[in-house]
């Protein structure tokens, strides 16, 4: 199991819809709008790094998502 913290910036004022859209992505365990340098943060969990890449790609393609930064869990 590999986790990632996905930091998202949305187009202006769109964070509520983006949060709902991200919530639909199966690998997303937790998602919430935030204050600070980002608009939304998601906790993503997948079986492997390939599935994680696909989940993050899907998030980055959602309408309203302008920018994502992914912090992938170090594998040991």
């Amino acid at each position: 199991m590999v986790s990632a913290c996905v930091l998202v910036r949305t187009s202006h004022g769109k964070f509520e819809e983006v949060v709902e859209r991200i919530r639909q992505v199966k690998a997303v365990k937790r998602v919430f709008p935030v204050l600070g340098r980002y608009d939304v943060v998601a906790d993503v969990e997948c079986a492997g790094i390939k599935d994680l890449g696909e989940a993050v790609l899907r998030i980055s393609r959602l309408a309203g998502v302008v920018f994502t930064e992914t912090l992938v869990e170090v594998q040991r």
Binding site: S3, R30, L35, D43, L71
Partner: protein, 73 residues
């Protein structure tokens, strides 16, 4: 209330810091990360006061260089 706290730490102390952070009651998930930060932490707190208490505690851990807190808004 959810929050995400991102840490930059002294590399040699990352593992011990992670253990210390995981022991904090309101921490739901914490893991070492690649990228601009070294540790990502997901918290669930009652309010901003509790969040502040925890971010102070995290900042006091030996080896923590800086933190960026993203509270639910």
């Amino acid at each position: 209330m959810n929050a995400c706290v991102l840490l930059k730490v002294v590399p040699t102390k990352a593992d011990s810091i992670l253990e210390t952070v995981k022991a904090i009651r309101s921490v739901r998930k914490a893991f070492l990360t690649y990228g601009r930060f070294d540790i990502a932490v997901f918290l669930e707190v009652e309010d901003y006061r509790e969040l502040r208490e925890i971010t102070i505690r995290i900042n006091e851990i030996d080896g923590v260089r800086s933190t960026e807190t993203l509270p639910e808004g």
